[in-house]
């Protein structure tokens, strides 16, 4: 069970990347399936060749963001539909990932990685590593919340919220989309690099379906915990990622096979999209959510001071 939580916390970084595109930019980015593996491949091959694992993981971030830039350019400058642009990059990345690794998988057995200190001290699978990883996630969440409140962060949010409006204030929405996709895929690749080090290998097929895990985490997490403020929305993604892993764990314990996981992911996303439309669910969810001062929308509709 603890391993499931650990996995959930590492995948949470990927899910936060998906949150940036899916919720902030309102852009369904499928590049993720490719860039996750790209991150794993880049980190693994450089670690095997003796590069410092911290440097290797940062390098994974950079290569991942490059993939995001390509999807962004295809979409904005090439005027290709967002979904298709993502799929094109994702498919192209499959070949590139094989080129990076030189073969279908790279083992990190016996290499010094970011995870090996944990393994050496037998911390993996204990609450100590869970706390450590959760702290890492909190740093990530803090960074994202900070970024989304800067001037450029506000412009990025406005790009996803009202494109016409933010253009009228002099922001190139094309550039904002490219930047958002770069950051998002950088984070996804970063998570891929961590997962490769956690499981001890990178495999060319490891990214398949990752977008679904990311979406499940974002949608499930925010359906349960809400998205009233940015910090709640971002934290909800982290919790959503852990909830997802726990659901998978329960399903496995109930006798389902590992090969059934993709089906479970899909069903989970469908449930998370449909359930909130039911009345009973929203009552239940409202009890957990943290509400803001200006909560009920109906209360503040009236205008004052119209002496027309």
């Amino acid at each position: 069970m603890i391993t499931a939580v650990e996995l959930g916390l590492i995948y949470a970084i990927m899910a936060l990347g998906v949150y940036l595109t899916f919720r902030i930019l309102d852009f369904p980015d499928l590049t993720v399936d490719g860039s996750f593996t790209t991150g794993a491949a880049t980190a693994s091959i450089t670690i095997v060749n003796g590069v410092n694992p911290i440097l290797a993981t940062l390098l994974a971030f950079l290569v991942g963001s490059l993939a995001g830039v390509i999807t962004g350019l295809l979409h904005t400058k090439g005027k290709i539909d967002g979904l298709l642009a993502g799929i094109l990059t994702m498919i192209a990345l499959y070949s590139i990932n094989l080129r990076i690794m030189g073969k279908a998988n790279v083992s990190l057995l016996g290499e010094s990685t970011l995870v090996s200190p944990l393994r050496a001290n037998q911390l993996l699978g204990t609450w100590a590593s869970v706390i450590l990883m959760f702290a890492g996630c909190l740093v990530m969440v803090a960074l994202i919340v900070w970024f989304l409140r800067t001037n450029v962060g506000l412009a990025m949010r406005a790009t996803g919220d009202n494109e016409e409006m933010i253009r009228s204030f002099g922001v190139s929405t094309d550039n904002q989309k490219i930047l958002g996709l770069a950051l998002s895929n950088g984070m996804v690749a970063f998570a891929g690099a961590l997962i490769a080090q956690f499981q001890g290998f990178a495999d060319v097929g490891m990214g398949i379906g990752v977008i679904l895990i990311g979406l499940a985490s974002v949608i499930v997490g925010q359906a349960i915990f809400g998205q009233k403020f940015i910090w709640i929305a971002a934290l909800a993604v982290v919790f959503g990622s852990v909830v997802y892993r726990l659901v998978i764990q329960v399903a496995l314990n109930a006798g389902l096979e590992v090969t059934d996981m993709k089906l479970i992911s899909a069903v989970l996303v469908v449930l998370a999209l449909i359930l909130p439309q039911w009345k009973g669910f929203s009552k239940f969810a409202n009890r957990i959510r943290i509400r803001g001062k200006d909560a009920p929308a109906t209360e503040v509709k009236e205008e004052v001071g119209t002496n027309a």
């Binding site: 009228s168 002099g170 119209t306």
Partner: protein
């Protein structure tokens, strides 16, 4: 301040739907001039506005703002000179962001947007004093999401956001048309005050002749892609709505006769 020369635009050229939206338009606004534009549907009013704003590119002709040619600049690139308020009250603000965040986005017009804090204490103080001028109580709700505001409040906020960061030109595209009469009157009053306070060079399209006569320092009437009437402040003051309608029928009739004769 704003100079439009020989502007022409044809939509769907070479097809059965071909429509000449603008025929060789020339218009010059001096600094501080507030021009109201009226005309029937399809007269080309909104097309002119979209050409100045950069949403549309002309087939021929040029647009100059403060002596600078902007014809080739994309809409977001010339937005540093231009404040815009759209007809749809939902169009000018970001609904899922707070009032102060929206104000900050507007304040950033024409500046580089970096990693500085979007809303600072100093900016917030400025937003409060700007919002107070609207007299809608919005200054007490800086952290409310804009999507919670009514249409009239959102349009008033859009107007403030379009103007307070000091654009050279203000474009108003029937910005009171989608509001109920009371809110429309409020936004019209605010428009008048704000334009006067900032001495903004303004181009306002409206369907409301009474409004076109009451607001502004100059009135232009368009028909069939051309400017058919141009009244200065003095002439405008003497005009009434029936006069305007009569004038319109007269010119339209004369034009129709010309066309029929030519055919």
């Amino acid at each position: 301040m704003l100079k439009i020369s020989n502007l022409s635009k044809t939509f769907f050229p070479g097809t059965v739907n071909e429509r000449k939206a603008l025929r060789d338009i020339n218009l010059e606004l001096i600094e501080g001039e507030f021009v109201t534009v009226i005309g029937s549907n399809g007269a080309g009013k909104s097309t002119v506005l979209n050409m100045v704003g950069g949403k549309l590119r002309p087939d021929t002709g040029n647009v100059e703002i403060a002596g600078k040619g902007v014809t080739r600049l994309a809409d977001h690139a010339r937005a540093r000179f231009i404040g815009r308020v759209f007809q749809d009250p939902m169009a000018g603000t970001a609904p899922n962001m707070t009032i102060e965040e929206n104000m900050s986005l507007a304040l950033g017009r024409g500046t580089f947007r970096g990693l500085g804090s979007g809303v600072t204490k100093r900016k917030r103080e400025m937003f409060v004093s700007e919002l107070r001028s609207l007299e809608l109580g919005l200054e007490n709700r800086l952290k409310a999401k804009v999507g919670l505001l009514s249409g009239g409040q959102r349009q008033a906020l859009s107007l403030l956001m379009a103007t307070f960061s000091g654009p050279k030109i203000l474009l108003l595209d029937e910005h009171t048309a989608a509001l109920d009469p009371q809110r429309a009157a409020l936004v019209a009053r605010l428009t008048e005050e704000i334009v006067q306070r900032h001495k903004l060079t303004t181009l306002m399209v409206t369907h409301n002749m009474e409004q076109a006569l009451r607001l502004g320092t100059r009135l232009i009437m368009m028909h069939d892609g051309q400017i058919i009437l141009d009244l200065d402040s003095e002439q405008k003051a003497k005009m009434t709505v029936p006069d305007l309608l009569h004038e319109f029928e007269k010119i339209k009739g004369a034009q129709l006769d010309d066309r029929t004769m030519l055919q």
